[in-house]
């Protein structure tokens, strides 16, 4: 954009004194000039793509996530106890260490779902357990950058940090017990029902967060494991568990 105006002005000043036709340029000079302008244009388009990826997709995703989150909360408020409805989302993930408020969790990890600024639980290649299951691994994925960047600060999570999942009537309080800063994207074992790579051997109620790493790329995956510590009934004021009050 800047280059365009600059160039326009320059052309304008140099071109305006003689009538309309300018001095004839050598064809090679013209070719070089057009090539240079194309390069500048390509650079600007790439810069705009960065702006799009790291800013605009967040704007869109946060707006959409907020809207979908409101839908879920309204539904919870309206409906009495009823059948579980996983279509609009099963609840909200609160991770104080990530300082990103609440993240709506929905079924599936396909890009279309995740691009709305939410976290998704795996249905494939290993099916996720749900928090209220007696045992299993509740496995989640969300974007590290762009599209809401809900797991952007995953590297801030340390052992012992709480990860709280809120459903319509229960708070599930997990404690992080292991992080894996880098693994292959083919390492499906990290989301097994008993994630032995994290050092556990027995079935239990686990939670696994996955996202990409290093930031701004998708070369590897960053994994955080937690284990359920306790659950709390949601009271009528939706009082938050102590972990979220700090």
């Amino acid at each position: 954009m800047a280059a365009r105006t600059e160039h326009d002005e320059r052309t304008d000043t140099s071109a305006s004194p003689p009538p309309a036709r300018r001095r004839v340029r050598h064809p090679v000079a013209t070719a070089v000039s057009v090539f240079g302008e194309l390069l500048i244009t390509a650079g600007l388009v790439l810069a705009l793509f960065v702006v799009y990826s790291l800013w605009w997709t967040n704007v869109l995703a946060d707006r959409e996530a907020g809207r979908q989150g409101d839908t879920v909360r309204n539904k919870w408020a309206d409906a009495g106890p009823g059948a579980l409805d996983t279509k609009d989302g099963i609840g909200f993930l609160h991770v104080p260490a990530m300082k990103n408020g609440e993240v709506l969790v929905k079924k599936g990890t396909d890009p279309k779902t995740l691009n709305n600024g939410i976290a998704g639980y795996y249905t494939d290649p290993v099916k996720s357990a749900l928090p209220w299951d007696d045992e299993g691994n509740f496995t989640l994925a969300a974007h590290r950058d762009g599209h809401g960047a809900k797991f952007h600060n995953i590297h801030k999570l340390k052992n012992g940090d709480p990860v709280v999942f809120e459903t319509k009537d229960t708070w599930y309080v997990y404690k992080v017990y292991k992080t894996l800063p880098e693994t292959s994207k083919f390492n499906v074992d990290v989301i097994q029902p008993v994630p032995e790579e994290s050092g556990v051997k027995k079935p239990g109620r686990y939670i696994t967060l996955t996202t990409c790493t290093p930031v701004y790329t998708s070369k590897y995956r960053y994994i955080v494991w937690g284990e359920l510590e306790r659950t709390e009934k949601v009271d009528k004021d939706r009082t938050k568990p102590v972990e979220l009050l700090g």
Binding site: S53, T57, D110, A141, H143, I223
Partner: protein, 62 residues
């Protein structure tokens, strides 16, 4: 190229500047609305899941 466009815009310098600005905004809009959303899944920056199959497959590739 841009010089050529400038010379072919009608009006005086002010009118041309305004037309150029509108054209520029139209291009940026088209990029954000159509080109980038199309290009993004083709680039390997947004894959967040672990996946047994090779990336780019249906569903969980991204």
């Amino acid at each position: 190229m841009y010089g050529w466009i400038w010379r072919h815009l009608p009006g005086n310098a002010w009118v041309r500047s305004i037309i150029a600005l509108v054209l520029l905004l139209a291009v940026v809009y088209a990029l954000f609305q159509y080109v980038f959303p199309w290009a993004e899944p083709l680039l390997p920056f947004g894959d967040v899941t672990v996946d047994g199959a090779s990336a780019g497959g249906a569903g969980v590739g991204q």
